[in-house]
């Protein structure tokens, strides 16, 4: 039985996690200091979702991958220069905020609208992918709302593995408490899958893939619709960096045996 999927990956850009991040309060609410100056990367868990999508598409000829991304156009362009060299996809760009302080409800509305506008998308074969959380808002709530808006009620979060069976059904491993996985079988698409880490390493840059992708990436960026996220009804009372600094006792020259005794005693303390 020939099976093919239409995989839409929702994923945006985040400030490079290795940068120093500092909040500032502006007229429209909190933001990152010098946000537009900070280097950006594809959100890590959305990246895993994209690579898993491309892997699945490669295994099932006739499948296709779209990346739907809401972010400042300039940042998207910067990040796509690298991401587009990783795996084949069509970009659907939305020009709007990618801040962690934007609300997932309105973000989901924008993403669902963009997905609904993809020409020729066969919803009966649709797998909606994304990271189970972002590295910015970290809410883990956007994908479910996008799914609801698209009428998809087979949803999975914290996904580490999808195995497609011969009959078109697929087995899903979702992270649950205690380092365990729940195993489920979904009869058929459409479904929402919020990815955790998965099992695939980041693909190497492939300039040929990049050249093919750029045929759709650049036009998509040029015609990216402007999206306003107004955070209706949401008010930030404060945003602060943690200030805690511990007075570290540095123990040098203590014999290993003595350190071990001290650690064992500490471990045993109530």
């Amino acid at each position: 039985m020939s099976i093919s999927f239409q995989i839409v990956v929702c994923g945006s850009v985040v400030a490079d996690p290795l940068q120093t991040l500092e909040p500032v309060i502006g007229p429209t609410g909190p933001a990152l200091k010098n946000e537009m100056m900070l280097p950006a990367v594809l959100d890590p868990w959305a990246g895993h979702a994209l690579y898993e999508a491309a892997h699945l598409a490669r295994q099932h000829p006739g499948s296709k991958v779209w990346l739907v991304s809401l972010g400042p156009k300039a940042k998207l362009q910067q990040v796509m220069m690298t991401v587009a060299q990783k795996v084949p996809f069509d970009l659907v760009a939305l020009d709007g905020p990618a801040s962690g302080f934007t609300d997932s409800f309105e973000t989901a509305a924008a993403l669902a609208g963009a997905i609904g506008g993809i020409a020729g998308l066969d919803r009966a074969r649709l797998l909606l992918y994304g990271g189970w959380e972002s590295a910015s808002r970290g809410a883990g709530s956007t994908l479910q709302m996008v799914g609801e808006r698209l009428g998809i009620t087979e949803q999975f979060q914290g996904v580490d593995q999808v195995t497609v069976r011969d009959d078109g059904s697929f087995e899903v491993l979702e992270r649950i408490e205690g380092g365990r996985h729940q195993v489920s079988v979904c009869d058929a698409p459409p479904a929402v899958l919020g990815w955790a880490t998965g099992h695939l390493p980041e693909p190497r840059n492939n300039p040929q893939v990049g050249m093919v992708n750029m045929r759709t990436v650049m036009p998509s960026l040029q015609r990216a619709k402007a999206v306003a996220i107004s955070n209706t009804g949401l008010r930030f009372v404060s945003v602060n960096l943690p200030k805690q600094q511990r007075a570290t006792r540095i123990v040098k020259g203590m014999p290993a045996e003595e350190i071990a005794r001290e650690i064992v005693a500490w471990v045993g303390e109530e």
């Binding site: 970290g138 540095i250 020259g253």
Partner: protein
């Protein structure tokens, strides 16, 4: 004062787990009129467990279809309970089950949701309106926020509130059954994959988090790599101390790339910027290196000690209570010996 619904799902034995009791304590602290909504194969044992909590109503959706953790059935049940209660604020524990289902329910109800909340109060906004505290940018900054949209769903992270405990023996609660037709679903839950008991390295309730860094896989003083011994020492400590294992991103990535490193370390163990930020009373880090972005992994660990050869390591200095400048192999060999003897 606004009406509040505590939303909880039962465990396989029909009772409520600790995160649900923590969410109950948080809901009671809000001092609004409290209803409790429960979902499970059967909900009476859970209702009886918290009969004395002072809730005005106990609502339940039960049946075999609702005993399993699955989006479509969980969302249908939660939606029905929210509508039946009419509550303005819905507080629920941030379990994998509710984290999957409740954002969709918030959409269905025209409400909003905040997840990974660490504190909920009537006081922080200054005008008596409810406000929640949560972290942004992967635990890099903490915000207090409030909303005017209702219903407002709040998923409370585990370990942030002292769980509610019954003042006396459990009673008998009158549960109002909320009728929900189980939705047609294409998803069948077939089981749970868990490591064997002796291979279990993630223990959310452990008193101690043991954090292993990439230094375990580097060349040691004799010029050789001792990955097998490192794994033996780490697993030996986890067994003896009943500790949970966390790993730095660099170490976990090495394992994922198929290098012969620590087989016990997977992405599930990863803590930090792109991993988990578990809550444990104590943390012992070994061979960890890095600066601020990586240190978020133990932001919610109370007492912290570190073993590291570098006295100036940013992971430990200013972040740990005690830094032992020593060889972790040497120290952990002796620690394990003492624990086994003790």
């Amino acid at each position: 004062m606004e009406s509040i619904l505590l939303l909880a799902h039962t465990e396989s034995d029909g009772t409520l787990a600790k995160p649900a009791l923590e969410a109950l304590a948080a809901a009671l602290a809000m001092e609004g009129e409290l209803s409790v909504g429960m979902v499970g194969a059967a909900v009476e044992p859970a209702a009886n467990q918290i009969a004395g909590c002072g809730a005005a109503r106990f609502l339940g959706v039960s049946g075999p279809a609702f005993g399993q953790s699955r989006y479509s059935t969980d969302a249908a049940a939660a939606e029905a309970l929210c509508r039946a209660s009419g509550a303005a604020i819905v507080i629920a524990p941030s379990t994998s089950r509710w984290a999957r289902a409740l954002p969709g329910v918030a959409y269905r109800l025209g409400g909003r949701i905040d997840t990974h909340v660490t504190h909920v109060t009537n006081l922080a906004a200054g005008d008596g309106t409810p406000a929640v505290t949560r972290w942004f940018y992967r635990q890099r900054m903490e915000a207090v926020l409030t909303r005017s949209e209702r219903p407002w769903m709040v998923l409370l992270d585990a370990g942030c509130v002292v769980p509610w405990s019954a003042p006396g023996p459990s009673g008998a609660a009158a549960v109002e059954s909320v009728a929900v037709e189980a939705p047609v679903t294409r998803t069948t839950v077939t089981g749970i994959q868990a490591p064997k008991a002796d291979e279990q390295t993630i223990r959310p309730d452990a008193k101690l988090l043991f954090v292993a860094g990439a230094g375990w896989t580097k060349k040691q003083s004799d010029g050789a790599v001792h990955a097998a011994e490192a794994e033996g020492l780490i697993l030996g400590f986890l067994r003896a101390a009943k500790a949970s294992l966390g790993g730095s991103k660099s170490l976990v990535d090495l394992s994922g790339e198929g290098e012969a490193v620590l087989r016990c370390m997977t992405h599930l163990n990863q803590i930090g910027q792109t991993g988990a930020t578990p809550r444990h009373p104590k943390g012992l880090s070994t061979c960890c290196h890095g600066e601020e972005p990586h240190v978020v992994g133990w932001r919610f660990v109370n007492q912290r000690r570190a073993i590291n050869l570098d006295a100036n390591c940013g992971w430990a200095r200013g972040k740990a209570d005690v830094l032992y400048v020593a060889d972790a192999f040497e120290v952990m060999r002796r620690v394990n010996r003492l624990l086994e003897a003790g």
